[in-house]
């Protein structure tokens, strides 16, 4: 035993420090932490390059798919239009040219964001789309904010002590809510608050009071998903070793939940929330139709049914850009939440 003590004492202080340092660099490999700002810029640049390819791909696919759906000239000419009229319309819009020439022209114009004019009312297609953006974004922003304000605290609370009766009931309620489709919620809201109580307008965008029901409808089927993910992640995080460490240092329940467990639980939820925002931007189509909301989603549906090619192209273009922005924002959120993602190969 004395031998052992002597042997170990031979490791002196210097060696000890050196070994620890070398251990540090080998365990981390050739990976080192780079500044958040630099990483942010890198992510944005990479995403931007990807975006250009994505737009090209989506537009091309859409271009050919749309031309499989039918003849817009026939719709424009109406039931009374004769052959002569059809030819005239085709010539006017360039539909008489071979497909590859149409495609070439389309691409060249897309580079300068010229999608042509709407077949329905001769307005600039992109202008029509951009006109709808603020209305759509109002809804997206309200639904997103409401979703986070409700989901994060509620999810954390439900997950913090999943064995308690109150929280079991809460979780069951969330589960049931998740099963209700958005259009049912929307119709019930209209029935109660517009038809019976006459408190809120049921159609269109007539100012803040008409934002409430569409936003609730959207949040009501997105929030349960987030609540359930956060709740599951929090309840898992509360069993982690670092929670025990914090508890052994005197941390109270609130510190454990809000300062230790929640941030870890948000890692998993961030991906879901990002995907939900993409979905919202892509047109909360059903909700917009139910509430006759003059947003992007409804414009897209109308344009597709009337074969208004330029507007469909412009709308999909704009939606793609914003979906990509939301994906990039999600990536950046990850970098800010999880320090482990700040490592890059040097």
């Amino acid at each position: 035993m004395t031998d052992k003590i002597e042997k170990n004492n031979q490791i002196n202080d210097n060696e000890e420090v050196q070994e620890d340092l070398s251990q540090n660099s080998t365990s981390a490999g050739d990976v080192e932490t780079i500044p958040v700002a630099q990483q942010t810029v890198r992510t944005i640049l990479r995403r931007f390059a990807e975006l250009i390819f994505l737009l090209l791909f989506v537009s091309t696919l859409l271009f050919f798919l749309l031309r499989l759906t039918g003849d817009p000239a026939a719709i424009l000419a109406g039931e009374t239009g004769d052959q002569e009229q059809l030819e005239l319309i085709r010539k006017q819009y360039g539909f008489d040219k071979p497909l590859y020439i149409q495609y070439g022209v389309f691409l060249m114009k897309m580079v300068v964001f010229d999608f042509g004019t709407s077949l329905a009312n001769a307005q600039d297609a992109l202008g029509l789309v951009l006109e709808r953006l603020p209305t759509s974004f109002t809804l997206v922003l309200i639904a997103f904010t409401a979703n986070l304000i409700i989901s994060i605290p509620l999810g954390a609370w439900l997950g913090s002590r999943p064995d308690r009766t109150g929280r079991k009931l809460g979780s069951t309620g969330v589960f049931i809510l998740q099963g209700i489709p958005g259009y049912i919620t929307g119709l019930i809201l209209i029935q109660v608050f517009s038809v019976e109580l006459r408190w809120l307008p049921s159609i269109g965008n007539q100012g803040p009071e008409s934002w409430i029901m569409p936003a609730i409808t959207l949040a009501s089927f997105q929030a349960p998903q987030v609540i359930r993910v956060i709740s599951a992640n929090v309840s898992e995080a509360m069993r982690e070793d670092y929670i025990r460490t914090a508890r052994a240092n005197g941390a109270g329940f609130n510190t454990l939940l809000w300062k230790h467990a929640l941030k870890n639980a948000m890692l998993g939820a961030t991906a879901l929330i990002g995907a939900q925002v993409s979905f919202l931007i892509g047109g909360s189509i059903i909700t917009e139709v139910i509430f006759a909301w003059p947003g992007l989603g409804r414009l897209l549906v109308t344009s597709v049914t009337t074969l208004d090619f330029p507007v469909v192209q412009a709308a999909v273009f704009v939606i793609s850009v914003f979906v990509y922005l939301s994906i990039t924002a999600t990536d950046l959120a990850f970098i800010f939440i999880d320090p482990r993602l700040r490592r890059q190969r040097a």
């Binding site: 004395t2 932490t33 508890r247 052994a248 941390a251 870890n264 939440i337 999880d338 320090p339």
Partner: protein, 337 residues
């Protein structure tokens, strides 16, 4: 530190020092709703910890040593709880404190170092904020003062460029450094008693030696409970050891006495199962059989089914009896058979 001063520091005969921690007949019970009988993970453990003394709690997995440590901090995982006994820190009973009083004890009067430094620190918060959280909770200091205390604590446990490490996240540190951070965290409020639960087990051999050195140098005079299944580690650090088996202490004594002349058959078995470099032995001798599990209700001596000295007396459970300076729970301790 030379060997000589170290031996002086260890001050083997410090039985006269005041008792800091007094654990008496603690029973930690886990209810088992599906079975009728509950399970006692700790089954009547008593020991005293004197100022400046390092007590080793040794035993194999499931012997209740970790649960004993957790019970000191009131950290027994639910649904388990302490159903009997008392724990006194100096004159204050701490096992039945209300939760907000208990939180003032945790990390302040009792500091705990856990086994796994890889998972024991929050991965998304930097080292400084985790250290400061504990400092601000227990000491009346500002954020910047807390950071200074945190820096000092890291520096004290031999972490190089400690100032920069405050900003570091756990994944940026090696296992050895993380364990040093865990130790710094346990020591940061200068607790009266330090409890180290398998603090070196998860580390590889060279790092383990460094951490043991740290314990010897930095904590030579600390009042400490060291939990380990490694007799070698216990031999290097501890003044006294208590050998646990099936939720009970079966033998206690000074480290020298117990290691050189074990009296309980289980301790003897444990020691002959430890590899040694200093003497040549034909082979390691494992203890036959398995320790009793939660399913087994043992009436008599829990070790009797594995013991080669079992006689009819062993059907009745032997108590931990004081013999000289030592305590042995056996009807036929070695030297008396």
């Amino acid at each position: 530190m030379t060997l000589q001063t170290e031996m002086e520091n260890r001050d083997i005969g410090n039985l006269d020092n005041e008792v800091i921690l007094n654990v008496k007949d603690v029973v930690v019970q886990f209810p088992r709703p599906k079975k009728k009988t509950p399970f006692n993970a700790v089954n009547g453990v008593s020991f005293e910890l004197r100022k400046g003394e390092t007590l080793g709690l040794v035993g194999e997995s499931g012997s209740g040593k970790s649960m004993t440590a957790l019970s000191l901090l009131g950290l027994v995982p639910v649904p388990g709880r302490i159903i009997e006994g008392s724990i006194n820190l100096r004159d204050r009973r701490i096992d039945n404190l209300p939760i907000n009083e208990l939180r003032k004890v945790r990390g302040n009067d009792l500091g705990m170092v856990f086994q796994d430094p890889m998972t024991g620190l929050n991965p998304v918060r930097n080292i400084g904020s985790q250290l400061c959280e504990s400092v601000i909770r227990h000491q009346n200091v500002s954020k910047s003062e807390a950071l200074e205390i945190a820096f000092q604590a890291l520096d004290d446990v031999g972490i190089p460029s400690a100032r920069d490490r405050l900003e570091a996240f756990p994944h940026e540190l090696s296992g050895g450094l993380r364990q040093r951070v865990m130790i710094a965290l346990a020591l940061i409020n200068h607790p009266e008693v330090i409890i180290a639960d398998e603090a070196t087990t998860a580390l590889d051999a060279t790092i383990q030696a460094q951490i043991l050195d740290l314990f010897r140098e930095r904590l030579a005079n600390a009042t400490m409970i060291l939990i380990t299944h490694d007799m070698g580690v216990a031999a290097e650090i501890c003044d006294r050891i208590a050998v646990m088996y099936a939720g009970r202490i079966v033998e206690t004594g000074t480290i020298e006495e117990v290691l050189s002349s074990p009296r309980h058959p289980y301790t003897m078995g444990l020691l002959s199962a430890v590899p040694r470099f200093d003497i040549r032995r034909p082979k390691l001798v494992p203890i036959p059989g398995q320790p009793p599990t939660a399913e087994d209700i043992v009436q008599g001596c829990a070790f009797s089914s594995r013991c080669k000295f079992t006689k009819e007396n062993c059907a009745e459970r032997p108590l931990l009896e004081k013999r000289d300076n030592r305590q042995v729970a056996c009807w036929f301790p070695k030297g008396e058979v």
